[in-house]
Symmetry: C2
Subunit: 383 residues, 2 copies
């Protein structure tokens, strides 16, 4: 909880809700009659709506990207290090928007929402949505906000895939795209980790085929395991070594199965309350959206062909110790953008923090990111 809101914070913010009454049909063929999208905005939209930035969130993220909901909040939004007055994405100049994705569990319609046709929660019957479905729903919010063209769309990890899909699908809707710590599709190893996480959730007896709400329970252990495993892939071996090493929690080995090493204690702590703040069906759905994303597939697996439609200028950033989406995966994106003649800037940031680096306040990262945002600003002002 902040004693006082820091001066470079967007301050106290209130989520807003857009109700959409037009039925939507998803890539899967399934549909919803209506739905809500919850979002937050920071900064002011200027008169010609040329300063709007869309932030896309990753697996367990949400719309609360910066600032505080109340003075009692222990932590600000998930990317507060990057967004605020005078910060990298400077809310003195930009109007920043972030929404909770459809299928999420933080206010936008998803498995925990009431299905108006049954008056029960959707639970496992909520349709699987894809990155493309998200981008389509994000366009409706764009129209609602009267934004003709985003100054930039920015995303890290799964958020980077959404930003990429925007650039491919709606090229005239954005001037810049920032794809950070992402990949053009998951590898077999990435899918394998997701499948272990899903299996942990699905085989938890409290999962009840996704109908845990009806049984007034949650698959706490399965979701906890998924979270522990996620954390291993978010951190680098190096970062874990630096942070925890082989340090023992109580200084001695106990020859038992309770927590002995600090790393065990950390993982247990990370997993313990996750089930209270995240929905298992949403977790499954988000991992599937990750697995499915593969824009090159419809173009004979030629990513440069998939990128042919792009008109946005592109910044691609990767981090040396990220082994979930390694620099090589970002380079695949960069190579395809270059070979299809796009305007692309690429930087590989030296960082020991692994995949999580994209959320961290790393000087060279934010220097490059901020410099690029000045270009984004100048392009908007030149319109």
């Amino acid at each position: 909880m902040p004693d006082a809101i820091p001066t470079d914070s967007v301050g106290l913010v209130t989520p807003q809700k857009l109700h959409i009454d037009t039925p939507v049909t998803f890539e899967s063929g399934r549909s919803l009659p209506s739905y809500d999208l919850v979002y937050e905005t920071y900064g002011e939209l200027n008169a010609d709506a040329s300063n709007a930035i869309l932030i896309c969130h990753a697996l367990s993220g949400d719309h609360h990207v910066a600032g505080y909901h109340s003075m009692d909040d222990k932590k600000p939004g998930w990317w507060d290090s990057a967004i605020g007055p005078g910060k990298t994405v400077d809310t003195n100049h930009f109007f920043v928007v972030c929404l909770n994705n459809l299928g999420g569990c933080k206010g936008s319609t998803g498995p925990t929402a009431i299905n108006p046709e049954t008056n029960k929660t959707y639970g496992p019957d909520f349709p699987i949505v894809t990155v493309d479905d998200w981008v389509n729903s994000q366009l409706l919010l764009t129209n609602h906000l009267n934004i003709q063209q985003w100054s930039a769309i920015i995303g890290g990890s799964l958020g980077g895939m959404q930003a990429m899909q925007w650039a491919i699908k709606f090229p005239d809707k954005l001037r810049h795209v920032l794809i950070i710590a992402a990949a053009p599709k998951l590898s077999a190893q990435n899918i394998a980790f997701n499948e272990v996480a899903r299996t942990a959730i699905k085989t938890d007896p409290e999962f009840h085929d996704g109908h845990y709400a009806v049984h007034d329970t949650i698959p706490r252990h399965g979701l906890g395991l998924a979270r522990m495993l996620g954390h291993i892939t978010y951190l680098s071996d190096e970062a874990m070594a630096e942070k925890f090493g082989r340090e023992l929690r109580n200084g001695t080995i106990n020859y038992g199965y309770d927590v002995e090493f600090q790393i065990e204690s950390y993982l247990r702590y990370q997993s313990e309350n996750f089930a209270e703040r995240f929905d298992a069906n949403t977790y499954l759905l988000m991992t599937k959206a990750l697995d499915y994303y593969d824009p090159a597939q419809a173009f004979d697996h030629d990513l440069s062909k998939a990128f042919a439609s792009i008109t946005a200028k592109c910044l691609v950033l990767s981090f040396t110790s990220d082994w979930r989406f390694s620099p090589e995966r970002s380079q695949e994106i960069v190579n395809a953008l270059m070979s299809s003649g796009k305007d692309v800037t690429y930087a590989e940031i030296k960082a020991h923090q692994g995949h999580d680096a994209f959320l961290m306040d790393i000087p060279r990262y934010h220097e490059i990111f901020k410099t690029y945002m000045q270009r984004v600003l100048a392009d908007g002002e030149a319109l």
Copy 2:
């Protein structure tokens, strides 16, 4: 099942059992009044017992390292590619021994054995044993077989740690040590993966605090998850990409939570029967032995000091795509051996198979390994 036993196989083999009636006290301070060690041997011990090779097994391995137990066996022992007449470890020349480690579940006394004091299975009450405890028990088998000095002790992964510990603790008991795809201690990331596996087992409601046998059940899901996760760390990203890529099992995406990608199918298959053939308490115990091993700890974390006692000649091998125990981890061993003035040969084998490469028939690997074994043979003959 072999139509006929291959000519380069050690053939049909029968496990033997050594019963030890002398009580043993472990590193933990706990003890056993008596215990069995199950082992296999291949080839003939020569008159001066100078041609004996000890193989140490890894996490889920056992004493059945080569040959067949019956004509109905679908597969030979776990390292049959390396051991047999004319093979890398040539049983025409060497007498090869491998035992199931104490705490195992394949015949040596462990959690599934009957505790003579209670007439019930030990279950979770079996003491946690360490790499050092294993080496001590392996010495008793050594004495039983009238082997004064092993020609070589060979181990991969956790087996490599046992081989290393032999060289440190009983320097006059071996002339050569072969440490393959190993590490001098686990990293925080290694421990983290073990902790996720243990948590999966322990939070399975069928685990019953380790007393699943009393409840006539097994923690099938937990052990299956541990195995799935293990397989991800045994394979490289590259090997998975080559073997499975993003191939769909039925050619199309189903937008559901059943198996869709081939990699999911493979992991499910690997995990499904593991609980039938491996014991959960043994799995927990083996991962703890891995976590604890750290020979440098008692020497101010100076590995070269821990290695001061070594007199064996050393071969250290690593594999380029092994990210469980990367070449850098083997190089830590090599650097410490060199700085303490030991006779060490090191090779990093280019291989895309990840940690599992040490079990594979990779030409350059077996060429180096076999050439080294000729040196081992010559040293034995020169005695």
